[in-house]
């Protein structure tokens, strides 16, 4: 009796397994993400995009792998915002989980630590949310960066824009974290070269809880432009305290923060006129319908607009990967070849890599106007004119 039961059960099990095989194995796509720790807030706008894309692929009947549609499965681990955990996670994804494709982690340090893994296993990865001149030192081959936010070009473009606005003096205050420091290093000489007097040039710690002393100095310097090289938490602090102290410079720039939807929601009308870095806005009609569709799908799924910087970059990396896989299939070497040489259509216009960089996209600036983010620089892709705050 027992034997008979066992045989039946085994037969049943084999049938189920056989059916699963017939229904096509999913394409396994792996990545690590900062689900907890200090980067969790920033990384959220990337994770949401990955989830949106997974749903979109499912709705389209699967991922086009060299002409054949296959289901996908996301495999991910939390890197706890610790860059040293990223490389082991990607090694595990490649050797243990045996994933077919890899997506990028969040942030510059994570990208830098994943680059050697990509090279070691000859596994192509399209990066997204990284921005540093250090990326140019990454040996080209298996990783690419679609962003145009390199601090040296941010500095030179900023100097050009300020000069055009007739700005004569500036105050620069910077967080001591790496990306802000890199920007400060390039910005000060660029401003001075453009004939803009830098009256205040200071740094502050990341855990700053009161900016009053710093902002009091800035107010007394009475400058035309206030440039705050900030991260999200201190961007919020600047907004609250500059309101109290009454900083009225016509040009006010915050590095990271204003592109996060919560920022505009928190400050309402008072946020109007704030400038930040960025190269994408759904308001630029020349990137429609892709950009519009993405924004609408994202807003519908998550009940808030996407982050115009990180969410856009994350989605671009997925568009590039999807188009490359449709052409080359899952063979790593063919895939690498296609990503390195083809031109891709994205929500931010065409992307083509030269080495690790996407040189088709210019460095730009966004400004909050009437509650939305408009591209105000460079003129070629601007959606609105810069307005004094």
């Amino acid at each position: 009796m027992f034997k008979k039961l066992l045989t039946t059960a085994m037969a049943a099990a084999f049938t189920v397994a056989g059916q699963a095989n017939a229904a096509e194995d999913p394409v396994k796509i792996g990545f690590s993400i900062s689900k907890t720790g200090i980067f969790a807030q920033g990384a959220a706008s990337q994770m949401t995009v990955y989830e949106l894309w997974r749903d979109q692929i499912k709705a389209r009947g699967g991922l086009d792998v060299g002409g054949k549609k296959r289901p996908i499965k996301l495999v991910w681990y939390d890197d706890e915002s610790n860059p040293s955990k990223v490389a082991p996670i990607y090694e595990k994804l490649i050797t243990d989980d045996k994933v077919d494709l890899l997506l990028a982690p969040w942030g510059t340090p994570m990208h830098l630590s994943v680059a050697p893994v990509a090279e070691k296993y000859k596994f192509p990865i399209v990066g997204n949310t990284a921005a540093s001149v250090a990326l140019r030192q990454v040996s080209p081959g298996y990783i690419w960066f679609p962003t145009s936010m390199f601090p040296d070009s941010i500095a030179s473009e900023m100097a050009k824009m300020l000069k055009q606005q007739g700005i004569k003096s500036a105050a620069v205050i910077a967080n001591v974290l790496p990306f802000a420091q890199e920007n400060q290093k390039f910005l000060i000489p660029a401003l001075e070269k453009a004939g803009i007097a830098v009256k205040i040039n200071e740094k502050y710690p990341p855990n700053i809880s009161d900016m009053t002393p710093l902002l009091t100095k800035v107010k007394q310097a009475n400058v035309d432009a206030v440039i705050v090289l900030s991260y999200p938490a201190d961007s919020f602090l600047y907004m609250k305290q500059s309101k109290e102290i009454g900083i009225s410079a016509g040009f006010q720039f915050l590095l990271v923060g204003p592109s996060i939807p919560v920022f505009r929601k928190a400050f309402g009308d008072f946020a109007n006129g704030i400038v930040t870095m960025g190269h994408w806005s759904p308001l630029q009609k020349k990137w429609w319908p892709r950009a519009k569709e993405f924004t609408e799908a994202y807003s519908k799924k998550f009940n808030m607009p996407p982050d115009y910087l990180d969410s856009a970059l994350a989605y671009m990396s997925l568009e590039i990967l999807e188009q490359a896989v449709a052409k080359a299939g899952l063979d790593k070497e063919k895939l690498r070849q296609v990503i390195a040489t083809d031109t891709f259509e994205t929500i931010n216009g065409p992307v083509k890599f030269t080495g690790v960089e996407n040189k088709l996209l210019p460095t730009g600036f966004l400004q909050i106007q009437k509650g939305d983010l408009q591209i105000v620089w460079p003129e070629g892709m601007a959606t609105s004119k810069f307005m004094k705050r």
Partner: protein, 296 residues
């Protein structure tokens, strides 16, 4: 140097100082009466801040009303912690050094549990309560309403606590317990009841401080720890268990923080603050006003 004389800085120093004084006061009440080192003090503030955030965003309740609700809620947690964890601990720990060490570990555990439960329940995303953010200008000083409210409420609470300790029978009993536990017992102070009261008062003040901070700071499950450290610096500087000393030390540290930064740079904040702290401890190890108290 112009910046140094600005009234703006004076206002800022007073606001920071009053917050330090308030959180120090809550911690000092629990330490002074029972020798319990409440390392979870900042986490109770965090709970107060979330109370204010959720009540405002879900039912539109003003943080001013949340002050009362958070204070009552935190006091209830205080009572629960007293009966559940610490009453027995105080009885069985024997020498005071052992009680201090045990309480430190217990509160540390409580802190970890509370932080992580909050992270699970509320997620780690920082939140903010945009409330009372209109700006008043008096002469050259401009003040955001919520910071002005923080200053007013914190000052009033410090004053009320000091008056309570001097004028009310239970307040006097708390002071008696701080001064000499055994003598207080002998003269008929109901130690149990006074301990419970201190617990509730200390925790309640932390909850209140959390609501005040919710209007000016970003709220996250891990926001409490820096304030716990600040509170310890304040009460050690003022003299452990010396409530007036703690209040003075809170304001002193607020002024040192703001004016020290103006004279040097924002990056020097921690160096100046902790430099002064270490210097005070070297010169007066018992703290500014400590030492007159007879330790049991």
């Amino acid at each position: 140097m112009d910046a140094f004389l600005s009234g703006q800085l004076l206002f800022s120093a007073l606001v920071i100082g009053s917050v330090y004084a308030l959180i120090g006061l809550g911690l000092n009440l629990v330490y002074g009466t029972m020798r319990l080192l409440n390392i979870a003090h900042g986490d109770l503030m965090m709970l107060g801040a979330y109370t204010s955030f959720w009540l405002l965003s879900l039912v539109g309740l003003s943080p001013i009303l949340s002050l009362l609700i958070a204070a009552l809620g935190a006091s209830a947690i205080g009572a629960a912690a007293y009966f559940g964890l610490f009453r027995r601990q105080i009885e069985i720990s024997g020498p005071v050094e052992k009680l201090e060490a045990n309480s430190l570990l217990l509160f540390f555990g409580l802190s970890v549990v509370v932080q992580n439960l909050a992270a699970l329940a509320f997620t780690a995303s920082p939140r903010a309560v945009p409330y009372l953010d209109q700006v008043f200008r008096v002469g050259e000083i401009s003040m955001t309403a919520n910071r002005l409210l923080t200053l007013g409420v914190a000052l009033a609470l410090c004053a009320a606590t000091v008056i309570f300790l001097r004028a009310n029978i239970y307040g006097l009993a708390i002071k008696a317990l701080i001064q000499n536990r055994d003598a207080a017992k002998i003269v008929g102070v109901k130690v149990e009841r006074v301990q419970l009261l201190s617990f509730m008062l200390g925790f309640g003040l932390a909850g209140l401080a959390g609501v005040l901070l919710s209007m000016t700071e970003q709220i996250s499950p891990f926001m409490g720890f820096p304030f716990t450290i600040a509170a310890f610096v304040v009460i050690i500087t003022g003299g452990l268990g010396n409530l007036t000393g703690g209040i003075i030390a809170g304001f002193l540290l607020g002024f040192i923080e703001i004016y020290g930064v103006v004279l040097t740079s924002q990056n020097a904040r921690s160096i100046i603050l902790y430099g002064v702290f270490v210097a005070i401890l070297l010169l007066r190890p018992q703290g500014l006003l400590g030492g007159r108290r007879v330790v049991r």
